[in-house]
Symmetry: C5
Subunit: 309 residues, 5 copies
Amino acid sequence: MKATRAVSRILSAYEGETPGVKAKLHSILMAGKLGGTGRMIILPVDQGFEHGPARSFAPNPAGYDPHYHYQLAIDAGLNAYAAPLGPLEAGADTFAGAIPTILKVNSANSLLSGTAGKDQAITASVDDALRLGCAAIGFTIYPGSDCSLDMFEEIVEMRREAASVGVATVIWSYPRGEGVTKEGELAIDVGAYAAHMAALLGAHIVKVKLTTDHVMQPEAQKVYKEKGIDVSTLAARVKHVVDSCFGGRRLVVFSGGAAKGADAVFDDARAIRDGGGNGSIIGRNSFQRSREDALEMLGKLIDIYRGKA
Amino acid sequence: MKATRAVSRILSAYEGETPGVKAKLHSILMAGKLGGTGRMIILPVDQGFEHGPARSFAPNPAGYDPHYHYQLAIDAGLNAYAAPLGPLEAGADTFAGAIPTILKVNSANSLLSGTAGKDQAITASVDDALRLGCAAIGFTIYPGSDCSLDMFEEIVEMRREAASVGVATVIWSYPRGEGVTKEGELAIDVGAYAAHMAALLGAHIVKVKLTTDHVMQPEAQKVYKEKGIDVSTLAARVKHVVDSCFGGRRLVVFSGGAAKGADAVFDDARAIRDGGGNGSIIGRNSFQRSREDALEMLGKLIDIYRGKA
Amino acid sequence: MKATRAVSRILSAYEGETPGVKAKLHSILMAGKLGGTGRMIILPVDQGFEHGPARSFAPNPAGYDPHYHYQLAIDAGLNAYAAPLGPLEAGADTFAGAIPTILKVNSANSLLSGTAGKDQAITASVDDALRLGCAAIGFTIYPGSDCSLDMFEEIVEMRREAASVGVATVIWSYPRGEGVTKEGELAIDVGAYAAHMAALLGAHIVKVKLTTDHVMQPEAQKVYKEKGIDVSTLAARVKHVVDSCFGGRRLVVFSGGAAKGADAVFDDARAIRDGGGNGSIIGRNSFQRSREDALEMLGKLIDIYRGKA
Amino acid sequence: MKATRAVSRILSAYEGETPGVKAKLHSILMAGKLGGTGRMIILPVDQGFEHGPARSFAPNPAGYDPHYHYQLAIDAGLNAYAAPLGPLEAGADTFAGAIPTILKVNSANSLLSGTAGKDQAITASVDDALRLGCAAIGFTIYPGSDCSLDMFEEIVEMRREAASVGVATVIWSYPRGEGVTKEGELAIDVGAYAAHMAALLGAHIVKVKLTTDHVMQPEAQKVYKEKGIDVSTLAARVKHVVDSCFGGRRLVVFSGGAAKGADAVFDDARAIRDGGGNGSIIGRNSFQRSREDALEMLGKLIDIYRGKA
Amino acid sequence: MKATRAVSRILSAYEGETPGVKAKLHSILMAGKLGGTGRMIILPVDQGFEHGPARSFAPNPAGYDPHYHYQLAIDAGLNAYAAPLGPLEAGADTFAGAIPTILKVNSANSLLSGTAGKDQAITASVDDALRLGCAAIGFTIYPGSDCSLDMFEEIVEMRREAASVGVATVIWSYPRGEGVTKEGELAIDVGAYAAHMAALLGAHIVKVKLTTDHVMQPEAQKVYKEKGIDVSTLAARVKHVVDSCFGGRRLVVFSGGAAKGADAVFDDARAIRDGGGNGSIIGRNSFQRSREDALEMLGKLIDIYRGKA
């Protein structure tokens, strides 16, 4: 499918990149009901690794089966489905070509003790992504963690390998660890910094959390105040984060966090849209609802991103 | 031998996998007296590494000789024999082709001090598995250990190498270490989580312990209670663990633990069978009995899995 | 463009080096308004990594966009533009060939806690430099840090790889960490030592900070006093640092530090020039000013280095 | 030379092994005055690394010269000479083919502090063994040390590489470190366990120390008592250790320890012989005696192993 | 140039070595005014790395320029010039073939804090040595340091690589760190042990410091006393160190330490000569003097080694 003007403009900003990677970004941007708009919604299902199977899937037991998520993402008209190695191996054949997939290549888990450091294990490879026909790899970094320099080095190497074989890279940039306070994990200065670092590391798609208006770093507080950076609304904060990704030259999507009411989800999406963000990555808020509720909610989200709601 | 319908259905769930790996899973599932049923019994003899030779073999000194175990597994009609490098090198020629073998590629030992961390050494390779004609490699992970992320990375790499040359992977997933209480090692939430992680990491066969009805993680306690997950019986807990492995799309076998009375072994097997588990991996309870007793017990276990006892 | 006599003399000192590397040094030394003089001004924009986007770019928001910096460096007639992976990937095509670029291949960030050690992550590779058409890689070492031996080993390996494919190496040598006091970070003995180590490690261009007349190491204090090493003026200290780089056989440039008044910047440049340094690397003092102010300031700096101011 | 029946029987137990490795074991087993008996005496000279040159060679200064040891082993009719890289490089040409050699590929030293951990450095490679024409590599593991898992991984990799090019592997298995008490280093349960682990790791020849009748591990004490394992005599303990190496399917040799009276050496050898051990590895007790005394003592040892004394 | 009988005898002791390495040892042993005598004097200039540029070169500022040292070594008729990567890259072309060079491939520095461990960074490679036409690589080990096992492993690997491409290896063996007292760093037992370890690791030339008559290790004290090892004179201690290097089968040179009076330097050389050492490696005592004084002193040293003074 020929790229729309919006998609062409986005792709042209990836100046140093191979045609193979651009083709994969194209496939994500042109998929689903938001195809061609430059906006996207991604379904990520890696919460089983992070929180365990019962906490993830007991609210809607159909979700124990990886096929359920493939089908949900396809039926809802989403842009991509992201998951660890195992679930993709359980559906890659049945759903081959039906929707772009993102292989999550590192993973955390909540059985890990507090003494283990804030880190993730590399649990899949670029070769796996190729074998399973994935459009991209997904990798989490923890800016602020004492393990973060190692994580940066890991994704830089995997990104290079992926790009060389025409696979795109999504970086989940989630501040946490020794250098970040609990409140700071969602602070606007920290979130913009985390997004900026993901872009500096070469992410093709930057994935961050929505932030509060808290500013954590004392040196930053001074600048935000003196320069009058607007962080008063969610949309303004989205805009600041998007600016921090090379003035809008990189795709930025925002995650929704824990399950919550549908209205809150919709409000978030409007702010992402109005602030110039490229979309939502929405897991527990979709697959922990019943299939009917999830389809309805995702349909409304698509309408919001299309400017119809 | 052509796969039975039960085996074909099982193999079809490994969508992303090479024909070589499926052929090896086929060889295990079609071997022995349970061949074709989708159930299996595996004889593992790596206790000498974990507990030392006397504690393992003095109860039945014939077991000092690796040939004894090969012959026992063959005569009992089991599906596979699992052991570290040395014992397989002592019998691989004599018993070539007589029974599928699983090379245990990492190993713990009880001479290790408490300060060394809960970890295992990699003690064999995929090349060894190929050279010795093994159907699979076996690897232990310790979810909850501060070494667990490294262990995850090790098995992910070895699994990838093994699969690329047509060797299947069995993951022993045993929670222990800094993130898990003593009681929690056998908790149902932890056990289901451990099984789920093994599946996420790409295990072709998941091997876990039978669990108690204890729920360790506070966040999990809430979910188990609210969602009314049935953990009241051993069979119900087996079912929950099997559900946690992609809703039954992965083979799950359960280990028996320390030597105990035959009736307890039989009760365990019935629960595994009734909960939808794929079988038992049974070491000390077989080779620490006399050959005659072991053959009788294993025969009865086979009957149980065939639904005849 | 044929090298001037000044440039030829400089290049001839790199006796063990490949023609490929010399061609890259030639391209930097012959570029811009200082081309052929043996002096240079480099625009580095990696402060977003080190201090975050707002602290770096809010003073002049045009700088959120990497294209801004490319254009500024070109329009000002500088010798090179240095940046991390992401920004070069956002402009490498648009500005291909327009100005020599330096890929900063390791990076620090200020979200890192005090317990993490003074270290940087390797965030790009020699392959990236080749793909993006860069003239050189840039690497920071922290002499005095307990991580410094590892950093030395990293740059030695990267330099070797870079040189083998005709890419030059710039080493940022910034003393800090367990072995250096706060005052010592800018001490003349420490700065000369840091520059000397960069040269010993094989840097083609040594980049250090201007120093104070403080002497940190007690053994050094004795020598500086006994031998009457002149450290009384900035120019004298520049000369001592240049001497410490093989008696002037290596290119040495000095960084400007935090934003300050234009007169201070000019005074620094005169001292660098008079002490025999090869030029300035000037980031925040240029891109945090408005484009007009920056162009004016850089024009005056060029005049200074040309001996006209 | 065609293998005797005793040697053929021994070699047939190495079922998974390459003909190249078997040829090397054959060369050791058929060499010297014990050639063909299935028994062997090896001269190891790595004490200079472990204890320093004066403590090793001052008692018989001729031993400073590596040629002395080659000649002693040859003239005494031993099966092999084992040494680190340097000494073999000092004699490999002069004595090429004259006696099988074993290259010790890791080494400890007594200048190491107590805080360094019980570990050894890898000080030679399989390539060195090939270049120097060695029959085997020798590697020490320290079961019970917090470094032991790493040591296991090292030897497993080196063994695999060695076997792939037809070089055999001898594992020195010496319990020590955090998990073992001082008395436990020579305990029978620990020694049998250490020998068993060496066999599990794939050693072609297991080398351990003679043990006391102490049983260190509480769990083991129970088993030794209940099952009535005979550890009352040195010969009985040798037998138990040999049993622990796959019921006698692996070659097991015993080291003599510090220099002592000749009668004690002879008593040890008789116990090894009577317990079914394959021989002695005897260093300081031979080369710290005068050449005449050493030859006489080694001659008597050979007689003992031949059943003539 | 055909080797003299003295040189031939020395080379014949390197039995396992490639002709390429022997040719490089030949080139060093046949160079300069001591060429053919089996004695040698080497000029090492790596003190800038270890102590900083001012402490090294301010006493004789001509030494800031690497060309000065090349020329000094050539004019004095020395056997070789040793330096880190940078200085050789500054003179390798001008002085190509004029004198054998030794590339120092690891380096320490005195900015490192006390918590960093006694270690060095690898700062050059065998490939660099080849590219720069060096006769040998030089590597420092710190026996007694908790980092020593790692250092041993590093040099063993580099030595193997170097030898495979015909480059010789010099090991600087300097006891220090957790396992050695301050006085012990120069103790005769420790020095002999350090020399022995360098030889065991495969050094072609062993470089150690002259020792005192102190004996550090209690176990060694007993042996030195009982066996009456003569350590009463400097020459006797040199002899003991040479004996410890395979009874004289390895080249052993001694370093001079800090700058001191010429008479002390001459006394040292006579002791080295009389004890059977192969020569001096003399840095600060030559290049911190004026060129005239240095040439005179080095001339006298050569006379001493030729037995004329």
